[in-house]
Each structure stands twice: as structure tokens, then as C-alpha cells.
Symmetry: C2
Subunit: 352 residues, 2 copies
């Protein structure tokens, strides 16, 4: 169903649709996480996998930052590997995901099961419902998944790696199998995200954490192929679609071809440059350097204002960090950042 957008529509969702808003909405990648003492307190009692497998714990952790900060969106606490575990792929977190049997052959790709979200990841859908029942009405919930190429990196390499050499050489050595794996994962993530929307997620985001490993031709051939396929299947949900490509500075011309509402931009590309490359039809999300949270308060304010200035006063900007918040960030700095985004952006609208 397509929701009507009115002045009652939360500011975050209006910004996703490039509608006028009274101030710039803001949320933080990994806002439910280790930098929060209340998260660490829960984590001391439960291991990471348990937290992704319990609807109650995932919902609680998702809600924690909303109690502390004036955030404009919530994002589901989960892991990009959770749906793959649901599909029966055996893995452990050490702390990055380590796959018991890496996928290296066409036969393994063809043997992968389909994802049936209600059967395979019921706890995620239950967490979505719990969060919707308990979050403030003006704070929409973002559902998310890993983008197909990023999941391929983990499944083929078998463990996190600086270069993901095994996955990258697989693209050249077994191109047909790689494309088939991308398509399979794209369909699985489409089913996963559609189920999150059906359970109540009000926006859907695909994380392409390893976009920066690829030159534009390979990005088109593998990553964009997968993301396009997933997003095409999600149009019918009617909720805003968001694509985040980490280290995507050289890929903006390619990403322009994606039919999404919002593109997440890391801190390396100035938002004015990203906007020019992406065209007027897409909102942008980002992109304060996560390191700027360590600046003295006045300098942090200047850095926030620099991001707002780069984004411009036109519609379609959601403030965020350019990458996930670091585990040793100061929650008080996060509070100052969020408040200053609201204040400075409201002021710019009234005076500009």
C-alpha cells in the first residue's frame, strides 16, 4: 500500500520523498550499538547471535537510542548475515562473519535454498512488529538488508578480509556462477525486505558495504545488477527505498541508474558533488566523518554546518554519519550533533 504523505507524515519520510520539511531529519548508522552503555549492559548478558535471534532483545536494542536522543528514524537491530543463517548457511561471528563452507562452485550456488522469511527469520518480523508498537509515532522504522554483492563477498571469501581477494578473483574466474549467486541473493533479499515492510517497516535500506572494492565496469556487472533486481521487486511495497554504497565516490554515475528514493553517501564525497552526479530525483543521506564526533564541541558544530551547507537548502537531505558510529564514540557528542542538526537546519530555513 502506498501511504499518503501529509504534514502528519514523519519528517524523515517526507525528506526521503524530497518534500519540504521544517528541519533536516537525522539518524545514525549503528545508532543501536556498542557506544551506548545501555547496549553494552544487555550485551554483557547475551552474545551477539542471541541478540539477533530474539525479537524482544532486538526490539529493545533498537528502541534504546530513541529514549536517549531526538532521532528522526529507528533502524532495526540485526546483522546482514541473519537472513543467510535463516537460509541454513552455517556461520559464526569471530567477531566478523566466518562461513563454515565458503561458496566457490556453480554447484554450490545452485544448491542454495530459497529464503522464506516467515519460516526462516520469524524473529526479525516479530521484532519489526514490537518496535512499531513501542516506538514514537513520529519515528519511522527502517528495515534493512545487505546488498547482494556485499553478501557474495562474505560467502565466497568465507571471512572478512581487507581485499576480499578470493571473492574478487571469483568474479573473473567464474563469472557465470558469480552472476547466478548475485541473482539468487537479490531475490532472497527482496523477499526478506518485502516481509519487513509487510510487518511494518516504513522504509527499506540496502547496505553495499563493499562497493568500494569494484571498478565501475565490475560494479555494473555484479553489484548494480543485484541491487537493481532487489529494488525492482520492492517498488510494490510503496515505502521509500535507500541504497548506501560505502566508498562509492567513483560510482555515483552508475548509482544514478538505480530506481531508489535515497542514496546514502560516505564522508569522502562532498554532498554537493554527490547530488550533481545523482541528479535531482534522488534524496541524499549523510555524511559527517565519524571521526568528527571526537572534535571539541564548537568544531563539531562547524563540521555539522559544513555538511548542511554541502547538502544545500533544497529538499531531500537526511543527515547521518558517513559510516557507522565507532564503538568508543561519546554519546554526549551524538546528542550535541543531533540537536545541532535540528537547530542549524531550522535556522537556515527561516533565514535562507
Amino acid at each position: 500500500m502506498v501511504a499518503l504523505m501529509t504534514n502528519e507524515t514523519p519528517v524523515f519520510l517526507r525528506a526521503c520523498r524530497r518534500q519540504a520539511v521544517p528541519y533536516t531529519p537525522v539518524w545514525v548508522m549503528r545508532q543501536a550499538g556498542r557506544y551506548l552503555p545501555e547496549y553494552r549492559a544487555l550485551r554483557a548478558q547475551h552474545d551477539f547471535v542471541t541478540m539477533t535471534r530474539s525479537a524482544e532483545l532486538a526490539a529493545e536494542v533498537t528502541l534504546q537510542p530513541l529514549r536517549r536522543f531526538d532521532l528522526d528514524a529507528a533502524i532495526l537491530f540485526s546483522d546482514i548475515m541473519t537472513p543467510l543463517q535463516g537460509m541454513g548457511i552455517s556461520l559464526t561471528f569471530e567477531p566478523g562473519p566466518v562461513v563454515a563452507t565458503p561458496i566457490r562452485t556453480r554447484e554450490q550456488v545452485q544448491a542454495l535454498p530459497l529464503l522464506q522469511p516467515a519460516r526462516d527469520v520469524p524473529q526479525v518480523l516479530e521484532a519489526v512488529k514490537l518496535i512499531r508498537a513501542n516506538a514514537p509515532r513520529n519515528v519511522p522504522l527502517i528495515g534493512f538488508a545487505g546488498a547482494p554483492f556485499t553478501l557474495l563477498c562474505y560467502l565466497v571469501s568465507g571471512r572478512p578480509s581487507k581485499e576480499f581477494g578470493t571473492a574478487r578473483s571469483f568474479l573473473y574466474q567464474q563469472t557465470a556462477a558469480a552472476e547466478q549467486l548475485i541473482d539468487h541473493l537479490a531475490d532472497a533479499m527482496a523477499a526478506y525486505l518485502a516481509a519487513q515492510a509487510a510487518a511494518g517497516a516504513q522504509a527499506l535500506m540496502l547496505f553495499e558495504s563493499w562497493a568500494g572494492l569494484l571498478a565501475p565496469p565490475q560494479f555494473r556487472q555484479f553489484a548494480l545488477r543485484g541491487a537493481k533486481r532487489t529494488f525492482a521487486a520492492l517498488k510494490a511495497t510503496g515505502v521509500p527505498l535507500i541504497y548506501y554504497a560505502h566508498q562509492g565516490s567513483a560510482l555515483m554515475d552508475e548509482i544514478r541508474a538505480l530506481d531508489v528514493d535515497v542514496v546514502g553517501v560516505d564522508w569522502r564525497s562532498p554532498l554537493s558533488v554527490a547530488r550533481r552526479a545523482l541528479g535531482p530525483d534522488k534524496a541524499v543521506q549523510g555524511n559527517l566523518d565519524p571521526a568528527a564526533l571526537y572534535a571539541p564541541p564548537d568544531e563539531l558544530k562547524r563540521q555539522v554546518e559544513a555538511v548542511l551547507r554541502e547538502a544545500g537548502t533544497g529538499p531531500g537531505h537526511i543527515f547521518n554519519l558517513g559510516h557507522g558510529i565507532w564503538p568508543d564514540a561519546d554519546p554526549d557528542a551524538v546528542a550535541r550533533m543531533i540537536d545541532h542538526v535540528h537547530e542549524a537546519s531550522a535556522r537556515a530555513r527561516s533565514t535562507g
Copy 2:
């Protein structure tokens, strides 16, 4: 002294100066390294630090790939941390560099000694002389150093890290100390590289391995500040100057301001895009995806041709990988790549 460029001048040096060449010269980042069985045989007898501390071993390892491949340049075997060890900074390789006492205060920056190459790194200068005495006359030797910001990352963080969060927050927390450290390292690397040129190095390269951590304003403030200072001091050597910025796709407009002859480009930016951003006064070096060496032979040829096509037939292209060769690469694939660069680029000149 400024060398005259004639038809007797090696093809690599002519390409650095954007002069006409009969074919595109090629060398390989980390060509003296673990993918070669003859390197592994030596390495089995000596640990890494011993190899960087022995002029004879460093020279031998530098010469190994020249015996096997039709390369157009040699690059000194060394480590970017070697001159810092020479300055008395205590570190170990595990296998990445781990600094015994990370630099986190202004007092530590001010206490850093100056580098005196003849006293502190005599083995490097001796290796340069040995290589020049034993390398073919048409194969020039490239001397190199780590760029100041990249060295700062290791010195402040203390060990390799995906995010180098400690170093990046240091830039915001202690900006003046960070700038002072950059300047000190820039002067040290200028002295180091000038000494390499005096000992016989025929081109000088600065590796900015961690350029990709910085947004353009911080890149200007720290990395470019340091690189400019080093290169300014090296103009008098008269040899071609090369700057390689890994993950520099969003930084090309900034790098254009550097007074260098050649810019190394990683595989993420098409060379046509890099050339447009850098302007007509700079040669480019790169940028085959290191993963392409794993492709079947015909596909590898197509990938080589795609890089040559992106570079165009104008002067000023040196072929290379877009990043260091991986330790498990096949030396036969390297030989095929080098030969195909020469053949295809000579053919393009005769027919185009």
C-alpha cells in the same frame, strides 16, 4: 642534476615526462615480493626486517623480477616504515607495523629526531647503488617513501587498522600537533628521497596508502599539505616525481594541485576520468584491477586492452596494477600481462 631526455632515455622516464614512446612502459606495484618463488626462497632464510636492513638482500630482491619479466622500471625493495626505524622509532612487524610507543601528544611530536639518511639508513642508499650497478641500463630505478599522512596513521594509531580511528580522531582533537607531525614527516621523507636520488634513484614515488580515509577538506589540510612540502623540496633533484593515492577517486581535484609529473591511480577510477580531473600536465600510472590477473588468459588480455583504451593514445601513461600485486598471483599471468601491454600498445601506435 637534470638529465637530458633523448631516444636513449629509458621509455619509462620518457613516459613520466609525457614524451612520445614506442610502447606503453609497465611495472608492477610490489613486483619484488611474495608471489615470486625466488623471493619466497630468500624469505625462508631471512626475516622481513633483516631483508630491509641488508643492502645486498634488498638489491637482490629488487633485481629478481627484472630477470624474469620484461619490466620497464625497478622499484627499491624496502618498507615505508624503514626510515622511521632509522629515526629511532621502535616498531615490529606482526606482520603489519606495530609501534612500541604511539605518538599521541604534541610533546612526542616535538621530541622526534631529524632523519639523517647517511647515518640512519645507509643500507638503503647502498642498496640503491648496488641495484644501479646491476640492473639493465634501460630499466630505471624508482626510489620511494611513505607519504606523511600515511606514516602519521601508523605512528598515531600504533598498529594497522581498518578505520585508523585513533589517527583520524587525532586530526580533530589535536589539529595543531597533527599538522606539526605532518610537517616533520614531510621534511624527513624529503631528506630520505633526496638521498635516494643522490645515490642513483632515477624517479621518486610517494605512497599515500591511506588517502581514502579522508574527505577532501581533511585531505587538503593534512595529506596534501605534507605531500606538497615533500615534493617542493625534491624539485631540485630533477628526477620525475610520482604520487600514488590509494582510494583517491574523490580527491583528484585536490591532487591536481600537486606539482608532480605522474599520479598513480587505483583501479576504481577509470583513467579517462582521472586524466580529465588531473589536467594535461600530468602523466598517469595504473590501473588494472589486481584481481584481473586471475582471469583466463583471453579475458586478461581484454582487461589489459580496456586499461590502455581508457588511458588513450596520448603521451603520459605508465601501465601498472591499480594496487599491489597479491601474494598468490601467478607469475605466468604477470608475464602475459607485461607482454600484452607492450604488444597491444605498440600495435595501437602503429595503426591508430
